[in-house]
Symmetry: D2
Subunit: 344 residues, 4 copies
C-alpha cells in the first residue's frame, strides 16, 4: 500500500479526497493537514470521516504521494519543496494549470510563486493528456467548470465540426464555492434562487481557452463563459453552444446521429465519460466520477448544443485527482472510483 | 367593484390569480371553476386561499372579466362563447399568442379551435404593446420563458445593437411545469439536480421568434432557446447572448455603460422592469411582478450578455395578466401588484 | 400617515418589517438604521426593497413609532432613550419578554440593561394580551418558536385538558437564525439535512414557560423544547405533545372533535389564527401573518397532539410586530397584513 | 460469487440495492424484475445503473439469494414459492415484520397472504437479532422509521432507564415515500415546507411497539409516533423523548455522561451504529449504512432525549438488507457497505 497525504483537508475538496481514498485498494491516507484545525481529530471537523481515525497535523508525515487542496498562490508555495524532494504531487489550485506564466499573472493578478516548475506540470485531464499524466511528477487537476466544459467541446473542435465561436453556460451547485463563509452562499440567500456571476470574466475561462485552443487550428476559439449558482449542493451542468461549420454534417435529423457518432467514437474507451441517449441530469452523477455528455443539434439555427453533467467534487475535483494519481502510480485507472452515483 | 372569474383555478396559475386579486382595489374575484374539484370549497384544494370563501363551480357565474388558465386547445374553446358575448378575456394558454395560424398549427400539432378570433387578440406584454392591450377584448398572456427573454433582448434589437443571432439559456423553477403529476417533477427526482429539456424545440420559441422579429428589420433573428429545470419552486433566470453589431458601441469598458444606458432609457417609464446595477438573482423577484434586467458586454468575445430574472407565476403569468386587465379596464397599471418580493 | 422607523434594518427581521410597512395604509417607513451599511442605499443591501427609496442612516430621524431589530442587550440600550422620550417602541429582542429580571439574567447570562423598563413592557402576543398591548408603550415581540408553540398549547392549558407535562418539537427554516454568517447555515452544510440543536436548553424555553404558566394553575408545566433546523428558508412547524388529563374528553373518536371544538372556540374571533381540518404544512403560511393549528388526539396513547405552522419572519416576527403596532396606534388590527400566503 | 436477484427494482429501494450490490465483493446482481418496465434496459429507468448492464425481466432467473422490494401484500405472495423452494429471501415489505397475524391484519386491513411463513421469519435488525438473522431463511427488513427509532430507545429500555412512556418525533426526507406519483411529493408542493402526517396512526408504529416491548418488562411502552415530511431527498432524524425512571441516573450534569456511557456500551461492537459526542445531522449519513445516535438528558424536565440519524434508503432499507444478507450467507457483516457518507 502506498501512503497518501492531503494538504488542507478541511475544505470540501480535501474531505472528498479523504472519502474516496478510504475505498482505494492500493493507497492509504496516512497524513492530513489543515490551515485551521491542526491538532483536532479529523472527525471533529468532518464527522463522516470518523472511521479514518486521523488527526489533523501541521505538517505532512512521510508519504508516497501528495494532494494539495490549498488555494492558488499558497499551493505552489507549499508543494514546491515536496516536488523538489521528488514526491509526486497532484494539485487542486490553479497554480500549475496554465502553461503561460503571463497568462497566469494577468488572470490571477499576482506573480507566479514557482514559475520554474511550470514546464513539467501537466494539465490533469486524462481524456486529453493520458500519456503525459502517466509520466508526470506534477499534475494540475482541472477546475470544476473546465472539467465539464472541455470534454463537451473537444470532439467537435478536433473534428472541425464547429466554428470557433463558443458559448458555455454553466450551472453549478453551491459546494463548488467551497467552505469559506460568504453571504452569497449563506443558506437563506442561496436557497431557492439562481444567479449569474463572474460576468466580467471568470478565472476558469483561462484554462478552457488554453485547452480548447490546443484542439483546433487557429484562430483560437472566441469563448463566452458564464457560470451560474444553482440551489443544490453538488453538480455542474454546462450547456455549450457553437455554430456548425458549413457542410460538415448532413442536413436534417441525420445531423444529430452523426454528431452523436463523432462523440461516441471520441470517447469509446474512456471509463468515466458516457455519451448518453437522452438529456442527462446532474444527479445521475452525484457522488460518482462520471461525466455524462449529450450532444445534439439545433436544426433551426444550425447550432451544435452539448449538455455536460458531472459532480463538481468528484469528476470536477477529487475523483479526477485520484484518476490522475492512478495513472501516475501505475494503478488501474478506475481504482477507488468504482462507485455508482447515489440516486436519488 | 368589477367582478372577475377564473376558469380552471386549480392549477398554479389559477391559484396565483386568486391570490393577487384578493388584494386588488377595484376587482373582486367572485367565481372560479376547476376541471377537477367542482363542488369543493377552494380552500380544500388550496388552503392558503381559504379567506376568499369561494366554492369551485362547474360554470362561471356572471362576471365582468374572465381569466382562463386552461391549457392550449381547451382554452380557446372554452372562452370563445364568452368573447362572443362581449366579455373581456385574458387567456393564459398559447391559443391567442401566435398571429399566424399556420405557425400555431405546426408548433402545437393541432387545428386552431377558433382562428377567427386571432386577428383581434393582442400579445399581452405591456412593455411592447401597451396601447393595443388597452384597447383589446382578448389578450394572450405571454409564456413564462418569453416574459423573461423578450424584455432582455428587445432594447438591443430595436437599437440595432446586436447581430440577429441569439442564444437564450433559461433556468426555471419547477412550478412553471404546473401541478400535473409527472416523474420529472416528482420531488426526489427534481430535487438537487439540473436538467436541460426541450432540446428538440420548445413551444415558447415560437412566440419569442414572433415578438423579436417584430422588433428588428429582416432577417429574422436566428434563435436557439434551451430551457432548464432548476431545483427551486419559483423563478426564471434567462441568460441571453448575441454578438455585438460592429461599430455600435465604443471599445473597452465604455461599451458596458453605453449598453446599460440604452436599456435604462428603453424602460425608463416602466413600472415593473428594473434595469439593475449588479447581477440579480431570481429570489429578488419572488412573489412580485418585477422583471430585473442586467445587460453587460463580454469584452473579450464582443458579445452582449443580458441576465433577466422574474417570478414565473407573477410577471411570468398571473401578475402580467392582472397588469393587462388593469390596462383593459382602465385602472392604474400597478393596481393590485404593489407587493415587494418576499425575500429571503 | 404616521412615520415609522426601524433600528437595524439590515437583518431579515428588519427587511421583513420594511416589506410589510410598504403596503401599510396608515404608516409610512421614513427612517432606517443599520449596524453595518450606514450611508448606503437600502437597495444595495436588499435589492427587493429598492422601491422604498431609503438610505440607511446612523440614527433614526424623527418618527412616530419605532421598531427595533437589534439583538438582545444592544436593543434595550438603544431604545431606552426613545422610550423615555415617549415614543411607542416595538422590540424584537428578548430584552422585554421576560417579566422576571432574574429569569432574564440567568438565561441570557448578563445584567439586564434597563430593568426599570420591564414592569411596563407587554408580551406582544395579541391572542393572549390584546388589551395590554393596546395600552402599552413598550411591546416585546415574542420569539419565533414561542409564536408557534404558545398558541398551540394555550387552549388546552386554559381548559385543563392536559397534564402539565409538555413536549414541544419544533422544526424551523434557516432564516430564523438570521443573516450572520455561520458554518451551520452555510448552504452546503445546511442543505439536505436536518439537525437538532439547543439540546442543553434553548433561550425561547424561558418565554414559553412564562406564558404557559400564566395560563394554568400550579404546578407550572414541565416543558421539554427541542428546536430543529430544516432545509428550507422560512417556516416553523411545532408538534406539541401532552398527556390528556383524565376524564376531560370522551373516549374514542369523539375526543378529537371535542378537542377541535375547544380550539375553534378559543380562537373564534382571531383574525390570524386558523384552526384547520387537515394537517397543515408550513408553506401554507409563507409570507403571510397566519398561524395554522391542527389539534388532534393520539387515541392509543391518550395524548393531545397539536401541530402549529407559521412563517417565522411574519407571524413569528415582523408581522406580529405590525399587528402589535396596529393595536397600539388604534388602527384596524389587520392593517397591512392582508396578504395571503405565496403558494407554492 | 453468489448470484442475487431483486424483485421490483424500479422503485428507490430496488435501485439502492442494485447500487450497493455493484460494489459487493462476494455477490453479483444477475437478475432484476420490475412491475413496470419489463423488457427495458435498467439504464433506461435508472441511468446511474447503466454500468450494471442489466435488462429488467418479468421473472427472476436462477439466483442464490432474493431481495423483494414489492409493497406489502404483493410481496409475500411473490416470494412464497421462492421460500418454499429453499431460497434465502430478504423482504422489504411489512409482510414478515409482525409476529402476530392479528396485529398485521388489523394494521394493514387485509388477510395475511402467507401466515404459515411468519413463524420462521426474523425481524432483520442485526443489532437486536444478529443470531436469528444469521440462521434465518426469511428476513424482514425493518421499516425506515423503526430503523431510526428502535436503536434510539433500545439501550434505555433494556437498562430500565426510562418510564414506558415514549414519544418519537421523526423527520424524513421525501424519498422514503417512494417513486409513485402523488401530489404530496410533487416538487412544488413538498419543497420548502414541513408537514406532519400519519396523525391517526402510522403503520410503522406496529413494529416499533413490537420490538420495544420485547426489550422491557410489562407494561408495554405507551408510544406516540408522529412522522414528518421534510424538504430533502434522503435522511431520517428521529427525536425520541421519555421520562427518566426515578433514581436510575445521578442528578445534574453527570446524568448526561452516564446515559452516554450506557449507549456506548450497548453498541460497543456494532459496526454501523455510532454514538456521537455532538448532535448529528442526517447528512452525515447520506449514502452510508451508519446510524448516528446522540443521547442526552433534559435536566430541567427529567427526560431522556435521543437524536437518531440515518439514510432512509441505506441503513433504513437497502443497506440494512445487505447487512442481513451478509449474516445469512456467512460473509463479513460489513461487506459491500464500507462507503462513507457523501458529504456535503
Amino acid at each position: 500500500m502506498k501512503r497518501a497525504g492531503i494538504i488542507n483537508v478541511t475544505g470540501y475538496v480535501g474531505a472528498e479526497l479523504a472519502r474516496l481514498l478510504w475505498r482505494h485498494p492500493e493507497v492509504r491516507l496516512t497524513s492530513v493537514t489543515g490551515r485551521s484545525g491542526a491538532g483536532k481529530p479529523l472527525a471533529e471537523v468532518f464527522p463522516h470521516l470518523a472511521p479514518l481515525g486521523l488527526t489533523i497535523g501541521e505538517e505532512l508525515n512521510s508519504v508516497d504521494v501528495v494532494f494539495s487542496a490549498l488555494p492558488h498562490g499558497a499551493s505552489a508555495q507549499a508543494v514546491a519543496p515536496l516536488i523538489e524532494a521528488g514526491l509526486p504531487v497532484i494539485d487542486h489550485s490553479a497554480d500549475f494549470r496554465l502553461r503561460d506564466v503571463d497568462d497566469y499573472e494577468s488572470w490571477y493578478g499576482r506573480k507566479h510563486p514557482a514559475p520554474h516548475l511550470l514546464p513539467d506540470a501537466v494539465y490533469g485531464m486524462p481524456e486529453l493528456h493520458r500519456d503525459e499524466v502517466a509520466k508526470a511528477q506534477v499534475v494540475a487537476v482541472p477546475g470544476c467548470y473546465p472539467s465539464s466544459a472541455i470534454p463537451a467541446l473537444a470532439p467537435a473542435l478536433r473534428a472541425g465540426l464547429i466554428e470557433h465561436d463558443v458559448i458555455i453556460d454553466s450551472k453549478s451547485g453551491v459546494s463548488g464555492a467551497g467552505r469559506t463563509l460568504d453571504l452569497k452562499r449563506h443558506y437563506s440567500e442561496a436557497n431557492e434562487s439562481v444567479l449569474a456571476y463572474g460576468l466580467e470574466g471568470h478565472f476558469h475561462l483561462a484554462e478552457i481557452t488554453q485547452e480548447l485552443s490546443r484542439l483546433c487550428e487557429a484562430p483560437a476559439p472566441r469563448i463566452t463563459f458564464i457560470p451560474h449558482l444553482v440551489p443544490m449542493t453538488r453538480g455542474i451542468l454546462s450547456t455549450c453552444y457553437a455554430p456548425l461549420a458549413p457542410g460538415r454534417v448532413s442536413p436534417g435529423n441525420r445531423a444529430r446521429s452523426e454528431v452523436r457518432e463523432i462523440y461516441s467514437e471520441f470517447y469509446r474507451n474512456e471509463p468515466f465519460i458516457r455519451v448518453v441517449d437522452s438529456p442527462p441530469q446532474t444527479k445521475q452523477a452525484w457522488g460518482s466520477n462520471y461525466c455524462l455528455l449529450y450532444p445534439t443539434v439545433d436544426l433551426r439555427a444550425g447550432r451544435l448544443v452539448v449538455v455536460s453533467c458531472l459532480d463538481n467534487l468528484v469528476k470536477g475535483a477529487a475523483g479526477q485527482a485520484i484518476q490522475d494519481m492512478n495513472l501516475m502510480l501505475g494503478f488501474p485507472e478506475t481504482a477507488g472510483l468504482e462507485d455508482l452515483a447515489v440516486y436519488p
